[in-house]
């Protein structure tokens, strides 16, 4: 019972502290409040699991998960390489690259653009994860099929955003390019693509999450004996919950880091956009 009580007391203290911190507007306070919130959740989890004697098969304590991570580190690394680097990253690069290229190509024909945009919007809303079993059938169990699922998943959101972005440069600026005597491609490179960047990055950020989801879901439909999705589904099957949670932690870290890196690149590339300037 002391564990539960201690966890609850910690919760109260952290809440009080956060209320005080939230009054400040400094950078440190901005960072401290969410961190404290996250730590509180972990402490509550630990305290409740220990205090109420929850079976480790159902929900292991965070400390138990942290304990087994060093032992299974090579395993986690192999899974990470298989699913994230080979499956998700290569699919992400191919899918996003193809989407941007297709968007630029169809941009020359307003007729195609008008036709493709509603279709793309509709397809982007469909449960595309459903193609995972089909692609696994086509490309086999290894990472190629995972990359293929990711390509299909990320293609449409990026395509739709790029097409919208290419249309976003304003009339005046395009007229100015015309008065400079710039042709189609110089206008594309120097004005329209840079102007489309905020939209493209919006698509790219949505795609980061989809990429990991696609790679993991595809593994549920068949995979070699390595990979995050494989490890999670077999781990659940043999009730190795601490391993499963360790894998989830890796997936969460990888997903957040991936998003963070793309957001960082966005800040570098679109430093001129109001939404980026407002923060500094």
């Amino acid at each position: 019972m002391t564990w539960v009580a201690a966890a609850l007391v910690f919760w109260g203290l952290a809440w009080g502290l956060n209320l005080r911190l939230a009054r400040g507007t400094s950078r440190a306070a901005r960072l401290a409040v969410p961190v404290l919130f996250g730590v509180t959740v972990l402490v509550l989890w630990e305290g409740l699991v220990r205090g109420l004697g929850v079976n480790a098969v159902i929900l292991p304590a965070p400390s138990a998960i942290a304990e087994i991570i060093p032992a299974v580190l090579p395993l986690l690394w192999a899974d990470f390489v298989q699913t994230f680097v080979k499956g998700a990253l290569s699919g992400y690069a191919i899918g996003c690259g193809a989407a941007v290229v297709v968007a630029v190509l169809i941009d020359r024909s307003p007729f195609l653009t008008r036709g493709l945009l509603p279709v793309g919007n509709f397809v982007a809303a469909l449960p595309i994860v459903g193609v995972a079993p089909i692609l696994v059938m086509w490309f086999g169990f290894d990472w190629q099929s995972k990359a293929a699922v990711v390509v299909v998943l990320v293609f449409f959101p990026v395509l739709v955003n790029t097409v919208a972005g290419l249309a976003s440069s304003d009339r005046m600026a395009r007229d100015l390019m015309a008065t400079y005597g710039a042709g189609y491609w110089p206008t594309m490179w120097k004005l329209r693509l840079p102007a489309a960047m905020p939209f493209i990055f919006n698509g790219l950020k949505i795609a980061t999450t989809l990429a990991l989801i696609g790679a993991i879901v595809a593994e549920y439909f068949g995979s070699p004996i390595v990979g995050m999705g494989f490890r999670i589904s077999t781990g659940v099957g043999r009730l190795a919950m601490d391993l499963v949670w360790a894998e989830i932690a890796v997936a969460a870290l990888a997903g957040s880091a991936f998003y963070g890196v793309v957001a960082l690149i966005e800040r570098r590339v679109t430093f001129w956009h109001p939404s980026q300037r407002a923060r500094v």
Partner: protein
């Protein structure tokens, strides 16, 4: 007509490409069969053969349509082979998850708009929560809810749906609740409106356009969640389970039919949300 023509053209191109892919991808099997039988096939003979295989690499569109029709009209609705039955199972958990997601999203948004500590503490975690691949958690949620003695199979699926759908609602709602400008809020103040009154009469109505834009994304996300949630439950019922069954038993037509059914369901759900939005706007007197 000027709007429909480009769309129809694109759809036509896709259909032609699909048929071409059917011939191209299935030809190897036909040639292989012919070689074993010691005969050869001309191209004219090959084309119809590629479109009538029981287990094609790429089924022709009309094969998929026939399979969907068989699943919809050819079975009793209660049959395990009926797509309507499986679609209904998926729809049920989608709607539970969607409702839960709206509740969670709107609730958190109200808290975030009114309490600074919530904004600073919760918002970053809400964003991080979406970068975590929920599908990694899906088998876990299924096991957890089983261990807690929840027998209903909808519950874990609804939780996964809610997890995916709450975020767009949260973001849209925060934006919407903040959309009345200072002038309008001041006006409410001069009318001596209480906090609750300015919430119900100003902030909430002002947030509705934002809410509905998010709801369309959220319902699609909820459907994805329900389908993904059906995968680790062991392929019992639902469209996701049909896909898994098709994948495990090597029946591509079952997978394609389930995929088409899921797509139709998604389209219908988005249309319904759009319809509700239009109806509500008319009731509120917004010119459509």
């Amino acid at each position: 007509m000027t709007r429909a023509l480009p769309v129809l053209t694109v759809l036509g191109i896709i259909l032609i490409l699909w048929y071409a892919a059917t011939v191209w991808m299935n030809a190897a099997f036909v040639r292989d069969q012919a070689a074993r039988a010691g005969t050869s096939v001309s191209f004219a003979e090959l084309v119809p053969l590629t479109m009538a295989q029981p287990r094609p690499v790429v089924p022709a569109p009309h094969q998929v349509v026939a399979e969907v029709w068989k699943g919809v009209a050819g079975q009793a609705v209660t049959s395990k082979r009926s797509l309507i039955y499986h679609g209904f199972v998926t729809l049920e958990s989608t709607l539970y998850g969607f409702a839960l997601g709206i509740l969670l999203g709107v609730g958190l948004a109200v808290a975030i708009v009114y309490f600074r500590v919530m904004e600073m503490g919760v918002m970053p975690w809400a964003i991080i929560s979406q970068t975590i691949p929920i599908v990694a958690l899906a088998p876990m949620i299924v096991v957890l809810s089983n261990a807690m003695g929840i027998q209903a199979r909808e519950v874990p699926k609804a939780i996964i749906s809610a997890y995916l759908s709450f975020f767009p609602v949260l973001v849209g709602m925060v934006k919407g609740l903040r959309s009345p400008d200072a002038m309008q809020l001041d006006l409410m103040g001069t009318w001596n409106a209480s906090g609750a009154q300015s919430f119900w009469k100003l902030r909430l109505p002002a947030s509705l356009p934002y809410l509905f834009a998010s709801l369309k994304i959220a319902i699609a996300a909820a459907l994805v969640g329900a389908i993904v949630g059906e995968l680790p439950t062991g392929a019992i019922e639902g469209l996701g389970a049909r896909m898994l069954i098709g994948s495990q038993f090597g029946e591509p037509l079952i997978m394609w039919a389930a995929l088409v059914a899921a797509a139709v369901l998604a389209g219908a759900l988005i249309l319904i949300v759009g319809g509700v939005e239009r109806g509500l706007r008319r009731r509120m007197g917004v010119p459509a």
